[in-house]
């Protein structure tokens, strides 16, 4: 039980690091924003695994949905 939980922690954190690295590295703005949203969603999953469902709901709502929508509006407005 405990080993499965630590395995899930490690997998989620490693994938989150990869997504965050992609968000920095990618040259195109739209894939970068999507990688950022994926990192945010995985962070929400990690909060849930750490028994903090309050923070998980807030992170999923704001970090994954609203931030991504606002970033996409900004990209649409600034593209030439």
């Amino acid at each position: 039980m405990s080993s499965w939980l630590s395995f899930a922690h490690i997998v989620v954190l490693v994938v989150m690091l990869i997504a965050a690295f992609l968000a920095v590295v990618l040259k195109d703005l739209l894939p970068s924003v999507i990688a950022l949203a994926a990192a945010s969603l995985l962070l929400s999953l990690e909060f849930y695994l750490l028994h903090a469902p309050d923070v998980a709901i807030a992170e999923a709502g704001i970090g994954a949905a609203l931030t991504m929508a606002i970033f996409i509006f900004a990209i649409r407005a600034t593209k030439k």
Binding site: G61, A69, I70, A74
Partner: protein, 158 residues
Amino acid sequence: MKEEMSRIVRTMTTLIYVFIMVYGFYVIAHGHLTPGGGFQGGSVVASAFALLVVTYGNQKTQDFLQKDLLSLLESTGLVIFICFAFFGLGATFFYNFLSNSGSLFGSSATIGVNPGNLNTGGTVTAMNIAVGIEVLAALGVIVLTMSQASETIEKKEK
């Protein structure tokens, strides 16, 4: 963003957004019993607003989601929150004067692990609802304003 998206996305949005909103209002109303609260539920409802704006475009969304109404709702939520904080001023600021009093939200809770009663919590429940209204209106105003500005700028560039 000025055209609406394809038929598949529109159908799925009309199916799903009601459930997202109901889940958000559930999180707000049950904030004193289950995980969540005003801020979390408000952000969930506002993400449903964002889904509507992304799918249908700003123009069609603003036909039934007025920005001025949301702006008014936001100030109302904040004023209700501060009023509930000031009502407890007989003892201290933010005193929970409603709990265990027998009036609205005033039943005393059973001690221990139990599913809970909706009519408990005192000012915690009332402040949950006030903050929920404030947060959903604030984030909705942010999303609507940003999408409208994005649409206008895109139209002006062409």
